[in-house]
Symmetry: C2
Subunit: 323 residues, 2 copies
Amino acid sequence: MASIREVAKLAQVSPATVSRVMNGTAKVDEQKKRRVLEAIEETGFVPNEVARSLFKKSAKLIGLILPSIENPFFAQLAGAIERKADKHGYRLVLCNTGSNVEKERAAMQMLMSMNADGIILTTSNDEIREYTAKCNIPVIVTDRSFSGSDALKYVHCNHYQGGRMAAEHLISCGCKNIVCIKGPQEISSAKDRYQGYKDICQEKGIKEQTMECAYDFNEGMRVTEKLLEEYKDVDGIIACNDMVAISAYKVLIRNNIQVPKQVKLIGFDDIALSKLMTPALTTISQPVEEIGAKAAELIIFRDESTKQEYIYEAKLVERETTR
Amino acid sequence: MASIREVAKLAQVSPATVSRVMNGTAKVDEQKKRRVLEAIEETGFVPNEVARSLFKKSAKLIGLILPSIENPFFAQLAGAIERKADKHGYRLVLCNTGSNVEKERAAMQMLMSMNADGIILTTSNDEIREYTAKCNIPVIVTDRSFSGSDALKYVHCNHYQGGRMAAEHLISCGCKNIVCIKGPQEISSAKDRYQGYKDICQEKGIKEQTMECAYDFNEGMRVTEKLLEEYKDVDGIIACNDMVAISAYKVLIRNNIQVPKQVKLIGFDDIALSKLMTPALTTISQPVEEIGAKAAELIIFRDESTKQEYIYEAKLVERETTR
DNA sequence: TTTTCTTGTGAAACCCGTTTCAAATCTGTT
DNA sequence: AACAGATTTGAAACGGGTTTCACAAGAAAA
């Protein structure tokens, strides 16, 4: 690969001039400019991003630290972030952590030493804060929130309100016996959703009935089996996310329970498969495109405002499992 | 962030010695070693990967160029690659292209200028070969294949055999009237799967009946509607992938056609949702974990062999849509 | 014509970890 | 004690694009 010095020699100018032509950082004599452009063409020169990044202390890189890219919701989030990043010439470095703090820390450190311009992090381990405090690049937490008086910024959906909407919707569908399969309570979004459901129960004087379940298919089926034993006359289920809702559906059918006739079912996230399953899943949708775009923007445009939290409204998407 | 020179000063040694302590590239006096380690601890020094990469001409980076990370199959593939890469200290740079050649080219160029160690590419645009030819880093094509006498390597599943298996399975389930919804024929995997089906038809003296469909939910539904009009007495459908199979199922149910009783349905890929949908989808599964791992390994271990193609066997996963 | 202000340009320093090479120190031998 | 051989160590160069700074050349003002 040709270097800037070779191009300079060929064009009979200095490397500085080549750099100025490429970046338009200063006016260059038309003749020389043409010679440089020709030399670049001839050598097929492409500036080395690493050298550039070493000097500029910016690699035009955004670190994306996720529990798992295989989770459809996170894949969608990654897609949204990638679109915005690509549009502005930034690239994504993907790190899966399985929610392991040690891996999260290692990834953050690595990203910093790579001169990444910022980190988008989805985690619930608030111990990571000891680390993010030392970060000299912006760290944006998405989907979750454990806000404190630190330098983190948060971009997420109003999960609490989503939880309320889910409960209200089932009630308006005539459910008298709602069970909430809440997600792992150390995950803030799961907690918020649950809190929304809980508050509605209190407001309406409804008995609170819950199960707890990890974000996992098998776990979802296991928990639903247990749910059916414990709450024989359940007629509405709020699942902590669409994956769990889909597993719950499977178990309901296996037990000859008709959906939505006997039991109404609602999930969260509106992953692509939700509208595709049969019957289509009613769910609380997150504006994932906006969330991803905002997170990316905060890094790309070096947001200096003191606003710490960006919250988006959830939306009920009524489909067949509650009709 | 502290630099190696600051650490050196603090430990009263030269930067070279600090480097040697960190990398174990040469023996260092025990006393000095201890002083260096202490200085590193005290300053919280983390070596700058960019500087290292500039000199080493390797950024410990694997470029991953995909049509879309939102496609569950590619997300799974990305997960598999990430696991293997992470294990060996490599990171992934994610580029979505929407199958746009121009974006693919831009991504490859960028990755090369970032000193990436290799590129894993999923594309069907064989014009890209003009570009890959100029690549001085290994390029591994996954899932697809348009092999020629170039420097590319291919890692994929035996789609042809998968196509045969799908057809044979439906026949063995007693289907007399199979329709194959083939994928876009410019995609080699889609072509191979279709060819497998076609050959079985010939071998068994069955009439070939096909539709063509993009890998897209809406497209899948539209095409299935049309299929039902054209082939009134269809009793078996081979969908080009699981996404399309799931959409097909939706349309079948909407038309009061029972699956698997009246029509048996089989997909390809075995994405996570396939076993989760109700009824669970019979599908031809790809060993995606192995495919991803192999692709990553070829880069990480700088495979020098002349073997150009690594092919894995597909596997029938029999579930409820054909029982 | 001389002075002053622009403007274009290249040499060199810079970013920072790694490696080379030669000097310095230490070991062991005679 | 003196010397050959082995081992440690630091100064400096390196990778490659960017930027500073000072000089040169041309333009405008006096």
